[in-house]
């Protein structure tokens, strides 16, 4: 069976709608990974199903919104204080059922009332301190995570600098003014091409931010033919592109998000090796 027959066999719809068997699902996921046209057919059906569903909605009753959002708030709290909360519930449950019921008279009543008030007050205080404790713990964990992330970033940064400063790294400047029809002639981007490993790194020095549905795509020009070197998003510093064994020039075009097999959009910058 070729992929077109496979696509039109009803499997796409059956997978998306959740009607496929486990075996069919596994096979479909393999096909999607291996064939971009299968994946494209799935995307197309999902999008039209979504469009159709969103055009025909039934608004749930208004009170559900706040109910669900506050439920989520509780979920969030639960996750944070899970261990402690579990402990608390267990202790409470052990206390219940063992307490004997005793009738009280006279002064005993006031004493009982006072002890209940004290209990309530202390529970409230416990709750208050528990919340304080939770928020401090959460803040501390946030800080630890942040500083680990900073350290990792710094290591990555140093590694990159070290690699880029290697004499074996060819530096190719791509400029907008090398392209007569460039929509942004002042654009500049730089290629770092490892002449030993053939790894390609890209730094965008200056290019206009594309709209959300578009993405820049890098091309290696090999004997006059553009070869896809990957798509990239802006504002990520130096990005690793596809490995390119051989090229005479590099260029960037603006394509639909996800890129194209051959360049269709306008060329922004070009640089010769």
């Amino acid at each position: 069976m070729n992929t077109q027959e496979y696509i039109s066999s009803g499997i796409v719809e059956s997978y998306v709608l959740g009607l496929a068997t486990d075996q069919e699902r596994a096979e479909f996921e393999r096909m999607c990974a291996a064939h971009s046209d299968v994946r494209a057919a799935r995307d197309a059906f999902e999008i039209s199903l979504e469009r159709e569903s969103l055009a025909n909605t039934v608004a749930p009753p208004n009170h559900l919104r706040s109910k669900i959002l506050s439920e989520i708030e509780i979920e969030k709290e639960k996750n944070r204080g899970n261990i402690l909360a579990n402990q608390g519930i267990k202790d409470d449950q052990e206390g219940v059922g063992k307490a004997p019921v005793v009738k009280l008279r006279g002064g005993g009543r006031y004493l009982a009332a006072a002890s209940i008030i004290l209990l309530v007050a202390s529970t409230a205080l416990n709750f208050y301190f528990f919340n304080q404790y939770k928020s401090v713990t959460a803040k501390y964990e946030d800080e630890v995570a942040k500083s680990a992330a900073y350290a990792q970033n710094e290591r990555d940064y140093l590694n990159t600098i070290q690699r880029l400063s290697d004499p074996a790294m060819a530096i190719i400047k791509m400029a907008g003014d090398s392209v007569p029809s460039s929509p942004a002639p002042s654009s500049i981007a730089t290629i770092y091409w490892d002449t030993r490993t053939k790894d390609v790194f890209l730094l965008v020095n200056k290019m206009p931010e594309p709209s959300a549905d578009m993405q820049y795509q890098l091309w290696a020009i090999v004997d006059g033919v553009p070869v896809d070197a990957g798509v990239f998003d802006m504002a990520k510093g130096i990005v690793t592109m596809k490995n390119i064994p051989r090229a005479q020039a590099f260029a960037i075009t603006l394509e639909k998000r996800g890129g194209s097999p051959t360049p269709k959009g306008q060329m922004y910058v070009l640089g010769k090796v």
Partner: protein, 184 residues
């Protein structure tokens, strides 16, 4: 949509997913505002009972919140993932004992005039997938209805309809192929 004095935020799907994975309440509210209507529609179509549908919608959104970590964009869109959670939850409810009991109660003739107290179910036969199904041949529609809205397996459908399993499979496959053309 995005002209409300700059207060309306729109996210693309990737942003929305990563915010949800970071447990962002605002992104979740956005998700609810944009998708609850579509999911509620499918839940109502399966359960045909407002009170239970309200419970299921709540369960579905809490599950989305709990399981968002396991959502894998390479296997499909966020909406598809949520739709399947909603469908599965509805079908579980449909098969639960409490639902079977509530159906028994409904068959008592207490709402003869057709207007039972406070539960006017919106007309849901002409929206979304149900609307698309109207375009299928009735023999196909029945089978998709049993498979999709009632959650029966092909074998169960063959039993219910008294037709061979092979016929069930072929008809469902043809129906799905047509569905794709209807949607185009």
């Amino acid at each position: 949509m995005d002209k409300h004095l700059g207060t309306t935020i729109t996210y693309n799907e990737q942003e929305l997913v990563s915010l949800l994975k970071n447990r962002d309440n605002r992104a979740f509210a956005y998700l609810y505002d944009n998708y609850s209507g579509a999911l509620y529609g499918i839940i109502l179509q399966i359960l045909d009972n407002m009170e239970l549908s309200n419970d299921v919608l709540q369960e579905v959104f809490i599950n989305i919140w709990r399981k968002i970590e396991s959502y894998d964009p390479s296997k499909g869109r966020l909406y598809t993932w949520m739709l399947n959670i909603a469908r599965n939850a509805s079908i579980d409810t449909l098969r639960s004992r409490s639902f079977q009991n509530s159906q028994k109660n409904q068959s008592f003739p207490e709402n003869v005039d057709g207007l039972s107290a406070g539960t006017s179910i919106p007309n849901i036969d002409h929206i979304g997938l149900k609307k698309m199904l109207e375009k299928l041949k009735s023999e196909q529609r029945v089978l998709i209805d049993l498979a999709y809205f009632k959650g029966y397996t092909h074998e169960e459908i063959a039993d219910i309809e008294g037709i061979p399993l092979g016929t069930v499979k072929t008809r469902i496959r043809t129906a799905l192929q047509q569905l794709r053309n209807i949607l185009k």
